[in-house]
């Protein structure tokens, strides 16, 4: 499909839920299916060693069951061309994801994360139910397909945006995402972050292409994209938990994808100038890229967790020595996610940049919005780089901060193989970006009949060549450095500021590394710091602990939830078991209804 074959569709003879099962595979579906199959395959290989029967006898079989159910559900969602079956697939994948997240049910944190995920997911599903039901009510059938001419359908887009936005983890709707990703087994986190979030993006892509979009939809998408990108990375910087940090980076990258898609939608309203196609290509390619490197990073984090038993970065350190493969692959993923050349993250971000900057050169109303967006994207990239410098530095460099980190061991070949596979994908897209342009142009055509030239822009070829050159140079420099380190360098201790007995705890911690940047964002992060400052010249005890809360969850969702619960408690006073009062309620209701009926009948 992605190489240019015509779309495939199939309609069953039997009825499922009253309508024939309709499957449709076009370039958009195929694009996301490729990602699904890649990450799912890598995850399956990874899970063989990561979650084997020998160490998890109770949960490994059910894990496999739900893993496959989730993949099937996502596959159905991607190919369904019928609202009802879309919802069936959606629910199947959402529920099996819940079971996967809460595989380790014994741990109360895991249970809480699972519940939060399930609740948030069902809010989204509810919005989608409303969306598909009103769509079916207005079109008269559950069948889905391009219907851009039917202008009355435009307001429905907001329902879809809410439903898919929750699943994708767009900034104010991301509350479920960090804890679910952090507490799920790592291969599940990879599938969740790499693919499940993209199913939300798929929904947005699909229905912003098939349905007419209300005016302003593109701006909202782009605006929320910018917010997610910057705040996602800001929150990531405040985390001390390795997987939670990665989860917040998913919020950031979803923001980058939405930026591309949002500006593409804006461009669509203006007959798609060239910059729009670039932004679209960048957004779409980032879907693949993020799927690849985020899964790679979660696998890496999983390997670390597997080896040391902790996700707390302040207990790790010095792992490069024990786990060179994991460390190298994780660093490669970090380079990719920070948007550094010569890897794939740079390619897609570069496409978005060039789209935005081209739009900025037109000097119209769009330019005024686009230039700040480009700046925010740059800020995001810089902060992501800072964040991953922190991760790699704290986890893999320095000296081990705890006994488990000292005894860490390299992961097996199964896990390494899965990571190598994803790393190869990252590198391939990074070095030969022009190869993928045609794929993107076909997806754009099926998205909303956007006519992208099938020949990649020349700059992309140049970029690819530069990347290859950079990679070769980098490799050469790396080999040279290793040789130099092995042969010419005298080893000695670091300068210790006159304190001659440093211990492993006297290193930069994750919190101190990101301290300054955290202060910049203190207005939204609202970190809590508990410290006991040293008071005398020869202090005995001093302590400092910082914690970044889930601001949106703790300061918005929970207070509102408590209010609703209090109201519900008051309402439950009406249910007290006294038959007479129940009959009284009934009577009042009947009287009010009949009065209403009579009055409305008369007027």
């Amino acid at each position: 499909m992605l190489t240019g074959q015509p779309g495939w569709s199939w309609k069953s003879d039997f009825l499922l839920g009253g309508t024939p099962l309709t499957l449709l595979l076009d370039a958009v579906s195929a694009f996301f299916l490729v990602l699904l199959s890649t990450v799912a395959a890598a995850g399956s290989i990874y899970a063989i060693r990561y979650w084997p029967d020998s160490t998890h006898p109770r949960t490994a079989p059910s894990g496999r069951l739900w893993w496959n159910a989730m993949i099937t559900g996502m596959g159905l969602v991607l190919t369904a061309a019928n609202g009802l079956h879309f919802l069936l697939g959606w629910e199947l994948f959402a529920v099996s994801a819940y079971f996967l997240v809460s595989l380790e049910r014994g741990n109360p944190q895991v249970r809480a994360a699972g519940w939060l995920y399930l609740a948030a997911s069902h809010v989204g599903t509810l919005a989608l139910f409303a969306f598909f039901a009103s769509l079916a009510a207005q079109t008269g059938s559950w069948e889905l397909g391009p219907m851009r001419d039917n202008v009355e359908l435009a307001p429905l887009f907001w329902l879809a945006f809410l439903g898919f936005g929750i699943k994708a983890g767009v900034f104010p709707l991301h509350v479920w995402l960090p804890s679910a990703h952090a507490n799920a087994p790592s291969h599940v986190s990879a599938l969740l972050s790499g693919v499940a979030l993209k199913i939300g993006i798929y929904g947005l892509v699909r229905f912003s292409g098939w349905l007419p979009t209300p005016p302003g939809a593109g701006w909202v998408m782009a605006g929320l994209g910018c917010t997610s990108a910057v705040l996602g990375v800001a929150f990531a910087l405040g985390q001390h938990d390795l997987k939670r940090l990665l989860a917040y980076h998913s919020v950031e990258n979803i923001g980058i994808i939405l930026m591309g898609l949002g500006f593409a939608t804006v461009a669509l309203e203006r007959d798609t100038p060239y910059w729009g196609t670039l932004a679209l290509a960048g957004g779409l390619l980032h879907v693949w890229n993020h799927g690849l490197f985020k899964s790679l990073l979660f696998f890496g984090a999983g390997a670390v967790l597997h080896a040391t038993g902790t996700r707390q970065m302040s207990r790790l350190g010095g792992l490069w020595r024990h786990m060179p493969w994991t460390a190298a692959l994780f660093t490669l993923g970090s380079v990719a996610i920070s948007g550094l050349p010569p890897l794939n993250g740079f390619v897609s971000e570069w496409l978005i940049y060039s789209g935005l900057l081209l739009a900025g050169m037109e000097w119209n109303d769009v330019a005024m919005a686009v230039i700040p967006a480009a700046v925010l994207l740059a800020v995001t990239g810089a902060l992501a780089l800072a964040c991953f410098t922190k991760v790699c530095g704290v986890v893999f460099l320095g000296a081990p901060r705890s006994a488990p980190a000292e005894r860490a061991h390299e992961c097996g070949w199964g896990m390494r193989g899965a990571m190598l596979m994803l790393a190869a994908g990252c590198t391939l897209i990074g070095l030969f970006p022009a190869m993928f342009w045609q794929v993107l142009s076909r997806v754009a055509k099926d998205w909303s009949a956007v006519d992208m030239s099938s020949r990649a822009p020349d700059a992309l070829y140049t970029l690819g060549l530069t990347h290859v050159a950079l990679a070769v140079l980098g490799l050469a420099a790396g080999v040279g450095t290793i040789w130099f380190l092995r042969n010419r360098v005298r080893r000695s201790v670091t300068w210790d500021c006159g304190f001659s007995a440093p211990s492993a705890r006297m290193q930069y911690t994750a919190g101190s590394f990101a301290g300054i940047i955290n202060e910049w964002f203190a207005w939204i992060l609202r970190p809590t710091v508990h410290e006991i400052r040293p008071t005398t010249f020869f202090p005995s005890a001093a302590q400092c602990a910082s914690h970044t809360p889930e601001t949106v969850l703790e300061h918005v969702v929970e207070p509102v939830g408590h209010k609703i619960l209090r109201l519900a408690d008051k309402a439950s006073g009406f249910q007290h078991g006294r038959v007479q009062s129940y009959i009284f309620y009934l009577c009042v209701a009947i009287l009010v209804l009949s009065a209403a009926a009579i009055l409305s009948g008369r007027s």
Binding site: Q575, H576, G577, R578, V579, Q580, S581, I583, F584, C587, S594, I598, G601, R602
Partner: protein, 214 residues
């Protein structure tokens, strides 16, 4: 014909006030029984002249059920439970009477605003039915003893029956019998439950049933 019909309906509505104003359960049950008999006779009057065997059968069954079988069951329940008076009503007897009067007036006012068939406009059938239903509700809400509440339920059912008379030609006999049978069986079961409540709580006060909720 219509005058006799209105007279009977009026009498039935008058019995409402008796039912609302008394504290003695025996009198309450008698009032409900009398109401049942009065209403049971109505189908004969509605049918203009032509005596249909079906109609006669319904009349006999209704009069027997509402006037004799159900009151007997209630009397027996009262005897086994060993109570004779409603002592602590939620709504006092005077207030109940006033409410009942208000409900009757409201019923007449409401009936004037309902879109009725022309042949029903002059009769008391519709206001009577509404008045009976409202009175039934007042008894159900205002009384605490299970037997008084059953009587309220019966008056409510009488009101529904009166409404049903409007449709007597459209309703098959089977449905009429179904309703009658339901009511009788319902009362039978309530008689048993009353006994159980009495044994469990040493009283027929339904307020004590709140002890059962979670």
């Amino acid at each position: 014909m219509n005058e006799i019909l209105n007279l009977l309906t009026g009498l039935a509505v008058g019995l409402n006030l008796l039912a609302l104003g008394t504290s003695r359960l025996r009198l309450l049950i008698r009032a409900v029984a009398a109401q049942g008999v009065l209403l049971g006779l109505l189908p004969l009057l509605l049918e203009h002249g032509a005596m249909d065997w079906q109609l006669v059968f319904i009349t006999i069954a209704t009069v027997a059920g509402k006037g004799f079988i159900i009151p007997t069951l209630l009397h027996r329940a009262m005897r086994t439970a060993n109570i004779a008076r409603e002592l602590e009503p939620f709504i006092g007897y005077i207030s109940s009477l006033l409410l009942g009067a208000a409900a009757t007036i409201a019923a007449v006012v409401i009936a004037q605003h309902l879109p009725l068939f022309p042949e029903h406009v002059g009769s008391l059938l519709v206001p009577g039915a509404i008045a009976l239903i409202l009175t039934g509700f007042i008894l159900l809400i205002g009384r605490t003893k299970a037997i008084s509440q059953v009587c309220g339920y019966l008056i409510l059912e009488n009101g529904i029956y009166l409404f049903g008379l409007l449709l007597i030609h459209a309703t098959p006999m089977l449905v009429e019998f179904g309703i009658l049978l339901d009511v009788t069986v319902g009362i039978f079961i309530i008689g048993i439950i009353v006994d159980r409540i009495q044994r469990a709580f040493d009283s027929l006060d339904t307020r004590k049933l709140t002890a059962l909720h979670e």
